[in-house]
Amino acid sequence: MSNKSDQPNMDRRKMIGGAIAATGAMTIAPGVILHAASVSDEASAGADAKHRWGMLIDSKKCADGCSACVDACNTEHGLEGHGRPATDAVWIRPVKLKDKQTGRENRLVMMCQHCEHPPCVDVCPTNASFKRVDGIVLVDRHRCIGCRYCMMACPYKARSFIHEALTEQSVNAPRGKGCVESCTLCVHRVDDGVMQTACQEACTNEGHDAILFGDLNDPNSEISKTLKSTNSVQIRADLELNTGVRYLNL
């Protein structure tokens, strides 16, 4: 730096200004082009706003020691453990509870509750977390940047981050390292017109019938009729998220 005068060196300034402008343009341009090319509402394609898909879990029927629904979910979506339970993906999990006052015990399964007002969708910076018009909450794996803010926001701990590279994936659920995922309510089945989730199918095959999947908007569906005639609850109803998954005998 030989120039020690107090007068600014205008050439240098022009060069710096030009470099900043060029870098800025190079950073923004590809994104603008990509953005213009993307179709924003493709995510809900195929979903029908007439329906709202949901589930009812009967805690009384959820059998101790049974893991049929968890196994079925893992097989259906190609979720495999790596012997590291703290980082392995979990879409559905059994929980056994004991009332602190009365000692009454309950067992149930927890998964994404497919909220009407999902906090994960609220906090997702890139709209990767989204709710389809039929109420199913999903993650767009092409948009997820892996910030994990949705995991911080979910009141149900329903989401898992993919901590390693994956192989042998299932065609039912495209997944990838560095993205967040959770129960899809077997959206691939729903879109194919199969009105039974993998977990429900397994539970029914085991003879427990603790899981009931169906359309909450259809007053004649079995789930709607059961919900109308029984006293079901939402987990953390205080948050007013209007969950798509409800519980009986909790």
Partner: protein, 395 residues
């Protein structure tokens, strides 16, 4: 007041300067290597899990980002609030703010699951997400502080200095409000979900940013062999004392509120009494090192003019601040969410009802330290290339 001359900073011999830069370069290279290792293998090689989803890199990133906006305060006091003693420090204040933010953002971005998709974050916005707002606030901060520096350095645009200064001041308040709101808006977790998080982060930024400013200013004037007056330093010191006290007040208000709410007794008990490492970090790190020691060093008559005491107080504020953010970020996640009030979890396939342990790994720490090195490198290069530091700051 006599006219102020600014000069590029020369730190002794060229060998000393370049070896310093080389050292920072090595630290950054190690950090980048660590980031590559974590991204290549996936996050399972870190201490993070599906329960502790934000780990040590987030602590570093939030710490640096919060400090960045605070570092700009000195410039704001100079040009917005008209403090003549602070005005000559404005250029360095802006440079340090940009450096700290760049360091913090690098750590934040490299810890994403998919850092390669940064372009998605910059083109796809969900305006209900405070994270999306932060992307705009952080990038805007670079632009506004860049313009602010321009108005300070170039006499031909100096007439806009006050206007841009005002804009930068409001922007920095918005930025830290946004950073605090990341936690304030999390309804599900007991440690967060509190509106006080936003103003608390603003006041934390005042404190950490000024501490960073003081310690690096003293170092720069020692290395550059320039005069730094006691009077000016005492002013900065007294201001730091006020900020440290204010952070303590907000901590008190936050914890007392939680202690009143029965639902929050669990998390308070965890942080204040039986949370193990988090309790120790709170009392020893945040309260003792971060509040009591600096307040003593700042206000004790025994250290009235001691530069050593001012530097030590600043370092203590930074260490305490780091622990404070650690307790907020990691402690808040380690305490289990209460999904089933009134019930005890007997067994769970996903750690429900359990306090989660988190042990940070070396690569996470290396990435975080690299963020600090990026900040210091930008400051070292910026101060050498531009006329940032006044030739003398004698009283």
């Amino acid at each position: 007041m006599s006219k102020m001359y600014y000069r590029e900073l020369y730190c002794g011999t060229p060998a000393r300067y370049w070896s310093g830069l080389a050292l920072l370069g090595v630290i950054i290279a190690i950090g980048l290597g660590a980031a590559y290792y974590m991204e290549h293998n996936g996050h399972w090689v870190t201490g993070m899990s599906n329960q502790i989803v934000w780990g040590l890199p987030h602590v570093f990133a939030i710490f640096l980002i919060v400090a960045a906006s605070g570092a700009l305060n000195v410039a704001s006091i100079g040009s917005v609030f008209g403090g003549p003693l602070y005005k000559p420090l404005g250029r360095y204040s802006g440079l340090l703010a940009i450096g700290l933010l760049a360091g913090g953002l690098m750590v934040l971005v490299l810890d994403l699951g998919r850092p390669d998709r940064l372009i998605v974050a910059m083109t796809e916005y969900n305006f209900k997400s405070i994270f999306a707002w932060n992307v705009i606030l952080y990038t805007g901060f670079f632009v506004i502080v860049g313009l602010y520096l321009w108005t300070m350095i170039d006499r031909s645009v100096n007439k806009y200095n006050r206007t841009v200064g005002f804009a930068a001041f409001f922007w920095r308040i918005a930025l830290t409000t946004g950073t605090g709101s990341i936690f304030g808006f999390l309804v599900a977790r007991e440690a967060y979900d509190a509106a006080i998080m936003a103003p608390m982060f603003v006041i934390m930024s005042f404190s950490y940013g000024l501490a960073f400013f003081i310690i690096t200013l003293i170092a720069a004037y020692i290395w550059g062999d320039r005069e730094l007056g006691d009077f000016r330093l005492t002013k900065l010191k007294n201001l730091l004392g006020v900020f440290v006290g204010a952070v303590f007040y907000f901590t008190l208000a936050y914890n007392l509120t939680n202690l009143y709410i029965t639902q929050h007794h669990g998390i308070e008990r965890f942080i204040l009494l039986d949370g193990g490492v988090y309790t120790q970090m709170f009392w020893i790190g945040q309260i003792f090192i971060g509040s009591i020691i600096p307040l003593f060093l700042i206000y004790s008559p025994a250290f009235e003019k001691s530069r050593w005491a001012i530097a030590a107080a600043s370092v203590a504020v930074l260490i305490g601040g780091f622990f404070q953010i650690y307790v907020i970020v990691i402690g808040g996640q380690a305490y289990p969410m209460n999904l089933f009030p009134g019930k005890e979890v007997v067994e769970s396939g996903f750690y429900d009802g359990q306090v989660m342990s988190y042990v940070p790994t070396l690569p996470e720490a290396a990435l975080g330290v690299a963020g600090i090195a990026v900040a210091l490198t930008m400051v070292a290069v910026g101060a050498r290339v531009f006329k940032v530091f006044p030739e003398t700051l004698e009283d």
